[in-house]
């Protein structure tokens, strides 16, 4: 039976680069996909693109591609990535330029266009799906609107012979489902196989999270070699059944436990994982040990794909100020609490208008929501506020800094920051409003 090997070279924009090189050199891969586009990244990229038409794609594109292109070329590994962000065509041209620079000729690089749906979305009154209201309520602050495309355009690019496919917003698993459809020729309504392919893509898309990253818990779930964690690949057959593994000798561990955690990761109803290509039913899934660092997945079912596509709308949502200062020694927590009280009172005295404020002590209650632990030997005060304007945010951050000479005894190590918030709201769009296009470059 025909099989295909697909690896994951990055699970987020800031991911390590060397595990992808290891995969492309030693993984005997057919395809390598890089998932690098978080929800709001595309809005930030759109802002950059508006300022400078030579940008708008992933800033690490050149570095990642430089690292993997030579071995990808010599081993015949084809690459798919959403590093195109707001400018897939610019990214494809950048890869073309880089390939020539590396002496790689005749490499075909495809850009997938068509996820930018700002015009059609803002022309209507699409209801928001994650809150009450419509897209019109977000004006005049809207920056971008991008639809989560499915695998179709990736398949088209691969069918045209692309060695590298660069997309903007597509659903993360579709980066992996695309090559499967291309190789196996699955029908557009073959929901069972598509769902198995979806599950494979879902398992792979966070890279190291399948192989022991975001998993290790010393004494309970031990993982060796996390500093040289291997990234995963799947060996998929034409029915979509798959084994998951990693390169022999790399760090980490592919276990039934790590695979179970990743199968459910960010899945809400396991019986209805809705993605543009198919709705996957993972509720009867079974993961079995198939040897050292090798796990088999079965029991995935599929249902017809959703009628509409999800759209992420990026919009400006005020500013966030953060300020931190540490206290140590006897009474550290009491001095930390006093510091928070002082900041709270200062904000009132100055009449600062805030949308929201979060006052916490790191080490006591900053991420833990409930405990009253023993007296710590140090605490770190954290003040965070959302404001409507930048000036107010700067004032809040300044009030934390001013604790140096005006606050409790022994406060040190102030850090402060102010940033504009680019937030995301969700809506839906009909498939008929989308038209995709492939632009092919050659080095």
């Amino acid at each position: 039976m025909k099989t295909v090997r697909i690896g994951c070279g990055a699970g987020f924009a800031g991911d390590r680069i060397d595990p992808a090189v290891e995969l492309v050199e030693k993984g005997q891969l057919d395809f390598l996909a890089f998932e690098c586009l978080a929800e709001r990244t595309i809005a930030l990229a759109q802002l950059a693109f508006q300022r400078d038409r030579r940008t708008g794609f992933d800033p690490l594109l050149e570095q990642r591609m430089r690292a993997v292109l030579p071995a990808a070329r010599s081993n015949g590994v084809r690459i798919i990535s959403n590093m195109g962000a707001a400018n897939p065509l610019g990214a494809a041209r950048e890869v073309t330029r880089l390939a020539r620079l590396l002496g790689i000729r005749g490499l075909k690089i495809a850009a997938v266009l068509g996820d930018d749906v700002l015009a059609p979305v803002m022309a209507g009154l699409s209801p928001l799906t994650d809150r009450v209201g419509t897209v019109a309520d977000l004006q005049p602050h809207v920056i971008s609107a991008n639809a989560y495309l499915g695998a179709e355009a990736i398949v088209e690019a691969l069918d045209l012979g692309a060695d590298v496919v660069i997309t903007g917003r597509v659903s993360d698993p579709s980066l992996f489902v695309g090559p499967m459809i291309h190789v196996f020729g699955w029908a557009a309504d073959d929901w069972g196989r598509l769902a198995r392919g979806l599950a494979v893509g879902h398992m792979l898309e966070c890279a190291g999270q399948l192989t022991g990253g975001y998993f290790a818990d010393p004494g309970r779930k031990d993982v060796h070699g996390l500093a040289r964690l291997g990234f995963p690949f799947a060996e998929v057959d034409e029915d979509g059944n798959a084994f998951f593994s990693k390169v022999t000798g790399s760090g980490g561990r592919v276990s039934v436990e790590s695979c179970k955690e990743q199968l459910l990761y960010e899945v809400l109803d396991p019986a209805a994982y809705a993605q543009p290509d198919v709705i996957g039913d993972f509720s009867k899934a079974v993961l079995t040990d198939a040897g050292p660092d090798r796990v088999a997945l079965s029991g995935i079912r599929g249902f017809p794909r959703p009628e509409q596509l999800k759209v992420s709308v990026g919009y400006r949502d005020g500013f966030i100020a953060e300020g931190e200062i540490s206290y140590a020694g006897p009474g550290a927590a009491d001095r930390g609490r006093l510091a928070l009280e002082i900041v709270r009172e200062r904000i009132a005295l100055l009449g600062l208008k805030l949308a929201e404020i979060d006052l916490s002590l790191i080490g006591l209650d900053s991420v833990g929501l409930r405990r009253k632990p023993a007296e710590p030997s140090e605490v770190r005060v954290r003040v965070a506020a959302r404001t409507f304007d930048k000036r107010t945010a700067q004032q809040v951050a300044h009030e934390v800094e001013a604790l140096y000479t005006n606050g409790p005894a022994g406060g040190g190590g102030v850090r402060k920051s102010v940033r504009e918030v680019i937030a995301i709201a969700s809506t839906m769009i009909g498939r008929d409003a989308i038209s995709t296009e492939i632009c092919m470059e050659e080095s």
């Binding site: 709001r40 994650d130 955690e261 990743q262 960010e266 109803d269 991420v367 833990g368 959302r386 918030v421």
Partner: protein, 108 residues
Amino acid sequence: MQLGEVAHSRSGDKGNISQISVIAYKAVDFELIERAVTPERVKRHLGLPAAVVIERYVVPGLNALNFVLSGALGGGVTRSIRLDAHGKTLAMQLLDLELTTSIADETA
């Protein structure tokens, strides 16, 4: 007995929703986990506000429970002012939930 002795857990986020899986290491312990780790107890253990709505899905083939906590992330990662805006740390905070304590004991 604490949950972490018989189960492992991972949290993820989708907008303002936190998702937390709780997975039995051994099938034999799943029934106890299923009985003890209710949405109400998760909510209380994590100190979540009353407005947070928790749904629980059972995935028997994986000996797993999947919790979906709507409204739990302070607006979601793109706009939350919390230190851990993703709620990445939530799953591990569940692991010292006492399996043998009944809800009645806790309320008392």
